[in-house]
Subunit: 366 residues, 2 copies
């Protein structure tokens, strides 16, 4: 293991579509020990994915995209990347062990299948699938190839407060988790979005997309392996000019272990909000509760990443901003090397997506 | 109208079961102009009801209760009250225009019917009913007598931040309301509760009880006259020693106007919480959003009553503690005098209760 001497700027939260946090580096590999390449830069999340891997010590090899402008912007930010002239070049590169990708959502599964069939692991932006058929196809290829299909569920994996909440729960700070509520407003920034963003067949619906983050957090915090969907809704409430946009969604679930989950996802972040969204998580347990203010402490601080812990000992404000090394990325690299699943089990990855897709299906049918 | 010269202490939030806020007095009547009496002191909310009426200028006449200890405590706090030797004495008192009451919940409707049939208006603690049959019976008597059956939905009527939120919405500060979420944790304080508190037939279930507050807020903030219940749950998650206690509940609704509502109600306020509950309201609109921290600003201030308003102009923290005269009480007194319904329409009172009862029924049947 390498040491942790390299420090990068603690925080770099960009407003709007791109969210590419930078954490404290804790490198789990030596330079050149673990190579990854990047392909399909359709969503700005690719910067967060790349930052996370680099800070954990991975070595960036190739980048591929069909759009020269996006490619140039990526190369300016990551000058070490070599430009691949085709996706196939990356698939053939022996030193590329993992391919990170943020393609248009309905293309992500097919790209992942090609990556895995080329003997590499895959790290896609969420949502990982837009249909249950894609999920089934990917499951089969994972089974055949034993490759990893990892998902950038950034709202927990790349958020200090969200990660800290998981640590506190694991330490027993609030007892057994009874309920998780996620409020996930996002800024629409309508004029900056590509066409696919407003085409439901391509983005998959608001519950499939933003919802998958929220379900993943529920499964993690409440230790859930399966759940029943009680209610789901996806609507266009105030954007008639973009008829296929769902600007509002909600899901209620009850887990097999009895834990409750509710989330509201939306594109209604007001113009005057200091960050792209005032995301919150409320977790109640038998012995206490946690609130995460994930990006914003409204009217007080932005950016912010705070945990409020209340239990028998009292109320505590824990400032998490810039305090995390985002351990997921190092764990993922080590999983790729050691063929383990410490970062996140494959069944957890799939279950979060499956429940989101089922919720979307329920919402679409009502 | 009387002037507003009398000032009472701004805040007196007691922890635990009793919550009896004191506001800035704005008296709408002269002394002796509007007499009320108090009967059945089973819940501590009666102090909040009495405070609200007194500060709006009403004159306290009689008090009745079968428990000498409770009666003595009330008389110590309100020495102007004359002790009635029977409830009938109050019903016969010509100068009593309104009877305020906080009886065991399943008795509230019958008491109200007797009050109205005696030609007086009634002001009961919530929940106003524990069954739909009681609601139907009361509706019929209201129809016959034209008396008022008012309900102390304190979590809006007697909370500065909650009231302020309604004013901001009416001013258009967040555009059209799309969703209301209420998180309503309460401290169980198990050892201090009477037996009826743990007897479902008497208290009616958690959605009937605490839920009715939350539904009332939804109807008000989102301008809703009716709604469909999507999902409701009421459970005992961690109090096996009190099998009829429901310590957790949740409701999802969609209003006829499309607005969404979700509430979680529970008895899991941790020991170390500075107040009896960290109640929150989140309201999103087409042009902004509001958060109410109704009793507590966790890890920062307690008691507290704050509104956080975000819209195109930016993010704003509005401290409401001690800033309200709680206008509901004065409006109610004037409604009783003038036979108007400015404080709250009777259909709104009934609809909030009806939807809570229907949610409880749905939860009980699943």
């Amino acid at each position: 293991m390498a040491d942790n001497s390299s420090q990068t700027p603690a925080v770099n939260i960009k407003d709007g579509a791109s969210y590419a946090p930078m954490g404290q580096s804790e490198k789990v590999v030596e330079p050149e020990q673990f190579g990854f390449s990047v392909a399909f830069l359709d969503h700005g999340h690719i910067h967060g994915q790349t930052n996370g891997l680099l800070q954990a010590g991975a070595t960036l090899r190739y980048v591929y995209d069909s759009d020269p402008k996006r490619l140039a912007a990526f190369c300016e930010k990551y000058p070490q990347a070599m430009v691949a002239t085709s996706f196939e070049q990356i698939l053939a590169d022996q030193s590329t062990k993992l391919v990170a990708s943020a393609a248009i959502p309905n293309l992500r599964a097919d790209i992942g299948i090609r990556v895995m069939q080329a003997g590499k692991d895959y790290f896609t932006d969420k949502a990982p699938f837009t249909t249950l058929e894609q999920l089934a196809a990917v499951k089969a290829v994972v089974e055949q190839t034993s490759q990893i299909y990892a998902v950038y569920y950034a709202e927990r994996l790349h958020n200090e407060a969200a990660w800290k909440a998981g640590e506190l729960i694991a330490q027993g700070a609030i007892g057994r988790v009874l309920q998780v509520i996620n409020l996930a407003p996002h800024r629409l920034a309508k004029d900056t979005r590509p066409d696919w963003f407003f085409d439901k067949q391509q983005y998959g619906g608001i519950l499939t997309d933003i919802g998958s983050h929220q379900v993943e957090q529920f499964l993690t915090y409440a230790g859930v392996s399966n759940a029943q969907i009680n209610f789901a809704r996806a609507s266009n409430m105030n954007n008639a000019d973009k008829p296929e946009l769902e600007d509002f969604g909600e899901i209620s679930m009850t887990a097999d272990n009895g834990a409750s989950f509710y989330t509201r996802v939306d594109w209604f972040t007001p113009q005057g909000q200091a960050t792209w969204g005032d995301g919150r998580t409320f977790i109640i347990g038998t012995a206490g509760n946690i609130e995460c203010r994930k990006y914003n402490d409204v009217a007080r601080q932005a950016p912010a990443s705070k945990v409020f812990l209340t239990n028998a000992e009292g109320e505590q404000e824990i400032d998490c901003l810039g305090q995390s090394s985002f351990p997921y990325f190092g764990q993922l690299i080590l999983d790729c090397i050691n063929r383990t699943d410490n970062a996140m089990t494959q069944s957890h990855v799939f279950k979060a997506a499956e429940l989101s897709l089922l919720a979307q299906q329920m919402a679409d049918n009502t």
